[in-house]
């Protein structure tokens, strides 16, 4: 291996099981599978509580990714795929989830998931995924009221962060903190286009900008874009951020300062699986429960 060939863009894939939520004979077991453009998420719920969760990178084939992420979620549980009463697929690759009984758009699932993660006070959700940004407004039950579909490209999303991590040789999970390490906030980059991110970043580096400053400029541009979307749907408190970028403190703190508004804090997801990155899969598993109960009636 060539020295320095560490894969900086690689984020942590994980699988967690919460044995205290173990299913009993009469439990309703449902699952949600969210196949995103960059990451795949699966959540298994027992009576509407998270029992197992897994997050991994989406491969080149959506059906394979769905199978793999589901198998991983089932690992170390007492369950087989056939034990699950109802599975809902969602996300960009939702039509390609072979085991799903039904599919729903990620919009509805993210709203439901955010409602589960943070409770009924969530009114606005900003979902920053691998290839798009969505702004969603919902009511106290997590029902969608209005939403803004993504822009025309992947500008300023998780994928762009991966490209920059690779170029600047900074592990992706540290980028947010690194970007805050600037004396004063630089002007935002002129475009957040993923295809031009490398070129623009390299040009700035050659002009003598530090890595921190380049990241700060890029993230500021991303945050401005996000705030524009939020203002279009009308940003009401409380605001929740879901998707992979919810873990990026560099983005979150900039969005907060631009809006003059706090976002809901990151829950202790390692303890109960309420990971905002998996909000879509959590919502899908909750819908699966509702749909299963509706079908039984």
């Amino acid at each position: 291996m060539i020295e320095g060939s560490q894969q900086y863009w690689r984020w942590r894939e994980y699988h967690l099981v919460f044995p205290e939520k173990r299913p009993k004979q009469s439990s309703i077991i449902t699952a949600g599978v969210d196949i995103g453009s960059v990451s795949s998420k699966a959540v298994i719920m027992v009576n509407g509580e998270i029992y197992s969760i897994s997050i991994m990178r989406t491969g080149s084939s959506s059906p394979d990714s769905a199978k793999k992420v589901m198998e991983w979620a089932l690992k170390d549980t007492e369950l087989k795929l056939s034990d699950i009463h109802y599975i809902v697929g969602t996300g960009y690759g939702r039509v390609n989830v072979p085991m799903a009984h039904n599919t729903l758009t990620e919009i509805a699932c993210h709203a439901k998931g955010a409602n589960y993660i943070w409770g009924p006070t969530v009114r606005t959700i900003l979902d920053v995924g691998g290839q798009d940004i969505k702004a969603i407004k919902c009511d106290e039950k997590g029902k969608v009221l209005s939403f803004l579909m993504n822009d025309k490209c992947a500008a300023g999303t998780g994928r762009g962060m991966e490209v920059l991590a690779d170029l600047l040789k900074i592990p992706i999970e540290e980028m947010g903190a690194v970007s805050l390490n600037v004396d004063e906030e630089p002007e935002p980059v002129s475009c957040t286009c993923v295809a031009f991110a490398r070129t623009e970043a390299m040009w700035l580096l050659r002009r003598g900008w530090t890595k921190e400053k380049v990241l700060a400029a890029y993230m500021r541009a991303m945050a401005i874009r996000m705030c524009n979307l939020l203002q279009r749907v009308g940003c009401e408190s409380e605001l929740a951020v879901t998707g992979g970028q919810s873990k990026n403190v560099g983005i979150i703190s900039r969005v907060e300062s631009l809006l003059g508004m706090k976002t809901l804090p990151m829950p202790e997801w390692e303890k109960d699986g309420r990971d905002p990155m998996a909000a879509g899969a959590i919502g899908a598993a909750l819908f699966a429960k509702a749909l299963h109960e509706k079908a039984k009636k």
Binding site: L104, T105, A108, D139, K143, V144, L145, S146, F147, L148, M149, N150, D151, K152, C153, R225, N228, L229, R232, V233, F287, A290, L291, K294
Partner: protein, 102 residues
């Protein structure tokens, strides 16, 4: 008073030229499909949408065109007259937002 449940979908973009959105209110849309025939670029269809866990047929922008609205909607964009998809809708479920940047 309880707020009416409405699901408003914005399809469009925002960039250096300004912002453009096709806004469809799924609670007013009855899925009649008149707009489908009116669209010169055939980017609108009626499709099954899940509203919470109930299904409803409503007008949507076809998935494959959602990232191309900038180009697809070009023929109707100049704001001299109302675009056909908007004028044909008897329930006023579709509107267009087009704000060019100064």
């Amino acid at each position: 008073m309880r707020r009416r449940t409405c699901i408003i979908t914005y399809y469009g973009y925002m960039d250096g030229s300004g912002e453009y959105y096709i806004v469809i209110d799924s609670s007013i849309c009855d899925g009649c499909g008149l707009c489908v025939g009116q669209c010169p670029k055939k980017i609108i269809e009626t499709a099954k949408a899940m509203i919470d866990i109930e299904e409803k047929i409503v007008a949507t922008v076809k998935e494959e065109h959602r990232k191309n609205i900038k180009y697809e909607c070009l023929p109707c964009k100049p704001d001299k007259e109302t675009p056909p998809c908007v004028s044909v809708c008897k329930n006023n479920a579709i509107r267009i937002i087009w704000k060019a940047k100064a």
